[in-house]
């Protein structure tokens, strides 16, 4: 059993998927199925043995911020109900949080380079969070976006030379996949909310940004990945069953995510 739990493939796929599925199944009646993303992701972090606050490295701060996302998401869903301003406000908040996450690296770079990198990461987080959170009332599209944001960030991180961040990303994708699977079955009865969309977008973007800052993922890959929440907005045949819509939305999301990975692959092969 111990061998199974320490297997990186189990840690970053089967385990977060199962945890996400169980959490989504239990909590969907109280409109909190979106906690699947955070639960699956944090289960993987726990299994990898990367929980801890000292020293508070960029990777650990990333986990802290990703863990804060579902808490704020639940708060936004239950206490405030997401409005049109919720998405950009959360985007700005977590964009600033991203600078805190990578400050230990940014502060060691020449001022102009550090400022440019920090501003770029903050803008990327703002963009992705804002466009993903605005999908809060469209579970199928949100699920597809979460699935491919996670898988894209994870695969990109592996190609960018960070296995740990790769595991995190793939685990997030697996947990979001569990949510999407339930959305395929339940259709409009399941709610993504800010709980799901905020967690998926914050965790995925920070993982991808981490692979940029701490490893060798190219900028262009991150830019391509940021198109995922836009791609799932393409028209869906609303009259068709949810599972078909989910497949089509997933195909939409697959294109920029696969593009991001292809760019990372190309960059890793370059001289």
């Amino acid at each position: 059993m111990q061998e199974l739990l320490t297997n990186p493939v189990i840690q970053s796929s089967a385990a977060p998927f199962l945890v996400g599925l169980v959490v989504a199944c239990i909590l969907f009646p109280i409109r909190l199925a979106g906690l699947a993303a955070g639960a699956g992701f944090l289960a993987a972090v726990w299994m990898i043995g990367a929980f801890g606050l000292t020293p508070l490295t960029a990777t650990r701060k990333l986990v802290v911020l990703a863990a804060a996302a579902p808490v704020l998401g639940v708060l936004a869903d239950l206490a405030f109900k997401p409005t049109r301003v919720t998405a950009p406000v959360l985007g700005v908040l977590f964009g600033a949080g991203a600078i805190w996450v990578f400050w230990s690296v940014l502060s060691q770079k020449p001022a102009a380079e550090g400022a440019l990198l920090g501003a770029g990461i903050a803008a990327l987080v703002l963009w992705t969070v804002a466009f993903t959170v605005s999908l809060h009332d469209r579970a199928v599209r949100a699920g597809a976006a979460g699935l491919f944001l996670g898988l894209g960030a994870g695969t990109g991180a592996v190609l960018g030379a960070s296995a740990l961040l790769g595991q995190y990303g793939l685990a997030l994708g697996a947990a979001c996949g569990a949510f999407l699977l339930l959305a395929m079955i339940l259709g409009k009865r399941i709610v993504a909310g800010a709980t799901f969309t905020l967690t998926a977008s914050v965790a995925a973007t920070l993982i991808a940004a981490g692979a940029l800052v701490l490893a060798k993922l190219p900028w262009i890959s991150l830019a391509a990945l940021a198109l995922v929440p836009l791609a799932v907005r393409l028209p869906l045949p609303e009259k068709l069953p949810a599972w078909i819509q989910a497949i089509i939305a997933s195909l939409y999301a697959l294109v920029p995510a696969a593009g991001a990975c292809a760019l990372a692959w190309q960059s890793s092969r370059a001289a």
Partner: protein, 196 residues
């Protein structure tokens, strides 16, 4: 009057004589390298080294005291695999990323002694604190070889030798690949230093 002045001068010189026994040496970076060895799949030991190490030590042979301070540039790590060829990355490149030395966030590791044991006139064991990946833990280094002499060409006084030790990398949060890639890191440092 002359005798009193002479006695005063001798007394004043005493503390200077004591200070003069503490010698300060600066590490010669082109003849000093920390090497490390890691078990690979339980089959062999892969050796690597850091190309950039700076620092120095002080030694007081009479009082049998000493101190060491070393700084190692983590990005200077090399294991001989620098050319990635058709692969996505070389091993040395991977060692610099977040899975191992995380050089973007932690560009330096340091070693600072807390006590030095002597065997006769020569230091034999150094207890100190290694700071790696933001974590500081005690690491003991054994001085296996120690020689002091004048440089054969420049005639500058120098000391050098070999030192060894070990630590567990997981103690410093470097968990990637354990146990396939060993947890225990063997250290072997060759050093030469010139008297300041």
């Amino acid at each position: 009057m002359k005798k009193a002045l002479l006695a005063g001068a001798l007394l004043a010189a005493c503390p200077l004589a004591a200070i003069a026994q503490v010698e300060t040496y600066k590490v010669d970076p082109i003849h000093s390298f920390p090497h490390f060895g890691i078990d690979h799949f339980g089959v062999s030991t892969i050796w690597g080294r850091f190309d950039k190490m700076t620092g120095g030590f002080t030694i007081d042979r009479a009082a049998k005291k000493g101190a060491v301070e070393l700084t190692i540039e983590t990005a200077s790590v090399t294991t001989g695999d620098t050319d990635k060829g058709t692969r996505a990355r070389s091993r040395d490149e991977h060692l610099r990323q977040a899975d191992f030395f995380n050089t973007a966030e932690f560009p330096r590791m340091t070693y600072k002694s807390t006590s030095v044991k002597f065997n006769g006139d020569a230091p034999s064991e150094i207890e100190g604190q290694l700071t790696l990946l933001g974590v500081t833990k005690p690491v003991t280094i054994k001085v296996d070889r120690w020689t002091c002499k004048d440089h054969p060409m420049s005639k500058k006084p120098m000391c050098g030798g070999n030192a060894s030790g070990s630590f567990k990398r997981t103690d410093f949060g470097m968990k990637f690949g354990v146990p396939a890639i060993g947890d225990e890191v063997k250290l072997m440092i060759n050093f030469e230093a010139y008297k300041e």
